[in-house]
């Protein structure tokens, strides 16, 4: 007969092995950076943007979302409302007080930043959100279970949700026009394409960073001396230039690492190779034996649950 100790050993090993394949392997793979060296991004220079809102129009058109006539977007009023991206508008332009000596407001583009180490991708329970090596953070509605943990995790509060749909709600956000930018034609994002003043520049992230720093160097009075997104939150594919501190245009102060580094280190600290749970299992297997004192089975109302008989003879 198999003794309890042997049984527990076998059971513990089986449990550990299953669990290992469950959590350990997958995460070990994902923790290494898989980003391409020449991944792309967009540089948005708020000091150039004139707030024409053509990008809002082009974005909705490119994503089969409701959009109005082009001249409707000449209305400046919505920019005063400090809008956020919604299920119908993946990008919005907001207006802030004009810089000193100017009358036109500073206009700021809001959309998914496409983080280098995205919290939403780390949070997603089924891998419906992924970071493409080329840069875009893309969403696979087919995989999504609709838990909305990505929305909790996003430090920029970007993803919107189709709460009105009873059966097929989607998480909605800018995808950097992945269909075009990752596709055969190697296109550029619709918002960049339509921008009439070149406030938006699409290109290699590395080159864009260089360009951004060059602009600050060449015109130090024009810019706040920081490229937002270079390191913020672990870095982002969208890079921002502004005439003022970014906290004044409602961009969060995030530090240089992604919050997902913390959750992943906790998660893997406990579960890597399933060592933590295996230890607890082992400890309790010892406890079951060592705390002893098991009355004969017939004394216990819960006798069927304890399975002690036949194992206490040592």
């Amino acid at each position: 007969m198999v003794s309890r100790r042997d049984f527990l050993k076998i059971a513990g090993t089986a449990c550990g092995t299953t669990a290992l394949s469950m959590a350990g392997v997958e995460s070990a793979r994902a923790s290494e950076s898989h980003l391409d060296h020449d991944r792309f991004g967009v540089l948005a220079d708020f000091t150039i943007c004139v707030g024409c809102r053509r990008c809002e129009y082009a974005c909705s058109k490119a994503h089969d979302l409701p959009f109005g006539e082009l001249d409707e977007y000449d209305d400046q009023a919505p920019m005063e409302e400090m809008r956020r991206p919604t299920v119908d508008d993946l990008t919005v332009i907001n207006a802030y007080t004009p810089p000193t000596g100017h009358t036109d407001p500073l206009t700021v583009k809001v959309n998914c930043m496409h983080c280098e180490k995205p919290n939403c991708v780390s949070a997603c329970i089924v891998g419906a959100l992924t970071k493409d090596p080329k840069g875009p953070v893309v969403y696979d509605a087919w995989k999504c279970i609709g838990c909305r943990y990505c929305m909790i995790a996003c430090p920029f509060q970007i993803p919107a949700y189709e709460y009105e749909k009873p059966l097929t709600p989607k998480v909605v956000k800018c995808d950097l026009c992945a269909e075009s930018t990752l596709g055969e034609e190697k296109g550029i994002p619709a918002c960049v394409e339509i921008c009439p003043v070149d406030a938006l520049t699409f290109g290699k992230r590395e080159d864009l960073l260089e360009m951004a720093h060059l602009r600050i160097r060449n015109d130090p009075d024009r810019y706040f001396h920081k490229v937002y997104g270079e390191v913020d939150g672990g870095g982002t594919s969208w890079l921002y230039l502004s005439d003022r501190d970014f906290s004044e245009v409602d961009l969060p102060e995030l530090g240089e690492t992604s919050a997902s580094e913390v959750t992943e280190s906790i998660q893997h600290g406990i579960f890597r190779g399933f060592s933590g749970p295996a230890m607890v299992f082992g400890l309790m297997s010892v406890l079951v034996k060592s705390t002893g004192s098991i009355p004969p089975e017939k004394d216990l109302p819960a006798s069927h649950e304890n399975g002690h008989q036949g194992v206490d003879h040592e």
């Binding site: 279970i145 819960a302 069927h304």
Partner: protein, 428 residues
């Protein structure tokens, strides 16, 4: 064979008398209430629960035809609300009685507690079932829940994946742990009528084989249940660690997983007292003070360790400075800590109070409510996103669904103790 009396060696001296009595009680057998109950199954209170349950069904009908937007106040800034805070996060915590009692009675061999294992297991089983159902209601694409079980879609970096897979496995383990009770109920009593009578013998034999088989392996499931519970109870606390800019500084700490686990230990045992008292009142049965009081003695130690991690953390991070300002968050923090941790700990520690069922119940109820408030604080009150359009307040259908689900849990518990041998047999 080991000496049964050895179990009382570890007994805490103050409660020595009660333990001797308790050893008496655990020689009783558990029995279904049906036929022996002092109260009928249907009472006016039960009708109220049924009405509330029907209310929940109505909310479900609207939710699954009109969408989450029609029944909730959730929006892009507040994607998680009452259902996540109460039905899921609090539900998991309050169902912790299952694994804590399994640990005390079966793994740590505190044999006097055997009598409490079955009710706690039943609560955990029903509780987790409704955690799972609560999740399904909240998921936008609930029919994709099976994706979590597909290795091709496993996402090992996701804290939520860890919670999800653990809860799924643990729920299965709970059903397996309950099977011996089903076997006990029907072995020798399979009595199908008429045409089906021929199946009686094979069914009985099957049950006996199942029972014997389970008896050999059940300890594996009991230990696995404790391991799985520790894993996901703590991981629930890791969930919000990914949102540092959104969660109020009084709660945001990378120590949340430890704090969630420790509070689960305390609230698990408190729930056993809490529901034991309510069940004894509702079913007009004796309250098992002789086991409940010693159980209550353990809780202040757990609460003290829990409070220690909270205190060290807020001091260490300087978060206590936030308490200088009086607002909703600091008030709720005060209620959570004073009302849910410190006061009940003092009541549990006072020997004279602990020996009075009403006080014991009060202290247990305070811990239960305190932990629920903590989960509400972490997932709702303390959740302050930068672009929040004001605090999230649940819509009434959200509240009705939560209340209705709790009603259904109570109804199923009541039905189960009438049908299955869960509560100890009482002499007349």
């Amino acid at each position: 064979m080991n000496n049964p009396a050895a179990g009382s060696q570890a007994v805490i001296s103050n409660d020595a008398v009660s333990i001797r009595n308790a050893r008496g009680t655990h020689e009783e057998k558990a029995a279904p209430l049906a036929g022996n109950s002092k109260v009928p199954f249907l009472t006016p209170g039960v009708w109220v629960l049924i009405a509330l349950a029907l209310g929940a069904v109505a909310v479900l009908a609207v939710r699954f035809t009109q969408g989450l937007g029609a029944v909730t106040n959730l929006d892009n800034n507040y994607p998680w609300g009452l259902w996540i805070a109460i039905d899921v996060a609090s539900g998991v915590a309050l169902a912790a009685g299952g694994f804590t009692m399994a640990f005390l009675a079966h793994i740590f061999h505190k044999n006097q507690y055997h009598v409490l294992v079955r009710p706690a297991l039943l609560t955990a089983m029903i509780g987790y079932t409704f955690v799972a159902l609560g999740v399904v209601v909240d998921l936008g694409r609930f029919y994709n829940i099976w994706h979590v079980m597909m290795p091709s879609m496993w996402q090992g970096n996701s804290v939520l994946f860890e919670v999800g897979i653990c809860v799924m496995i643990y729920l299965t383990v709970l059903y397996i742990e309950f099977l011996p009770i089903v076997c006990e109920r029907f072995i020798g009593k399979v009595n199908l009528p008429g045409f089906w009578a021929g199946l009686n013998k094979p069914l009985d034999r099957l049950l006996r084989a199942l029972d014997a088989g389970l008896n050999k392996v059940i300890i594996f499931f009991l230990i696995a249940g404790v391991v799985l519970s520790c894993a996901h109870q703590s991981s629930l606390g890791t969930l919000m660690v990914i949102a540092p800019g959104k969660l109020h500084t009084l709660w945001y700490t990378p120590m949340m997983p430890l704090q969630f686990l420790l509070s689960a230990f305390a609230v698990g045992l408190s729930m056993v007292i809490f529901e034991g008292y309510l069940a004894s009142r509702s079913l007009k049965r004796e309250f098992e003070l002789n086991v409940m009081a010693p159980l209550g003695r353990i809780i202040p130690f757990l609460l003290t360790v829990y409070f220690g991690t909270k205190l060290i953390d807020v001091v260490n991070r300087g978060a206590y400075k936030a308490l200088g300002e009086f607002n909703l968050q600091t008030a709720m923090y005060g209620v959570e800590i004073i009302g849910g941790v410190l006061l009940p700990a003092f009541i549990f520690m006072a020997h004279r109070l602990r020996r009075q069922p009403a006080w014991l119940f009060t202290a247990a109820a305070m811990v239960v409510i305190g932990v629920v408030i903590n989960r509400i604080n972490v997932f709702i009150i303390g959740y302050e996103p930068q672009f929040g359009s004001g605090p999230y307040v649940p819509a009434w259908p959200e509240a009705l669904l939560t209340i209705g689900f709790i009603s259904i849990i109570v109804l199923i518990y009541r039905a189960a103790v009438f049908i299955f041998p869960v509560l100890p047999e009482e002499e007349d």
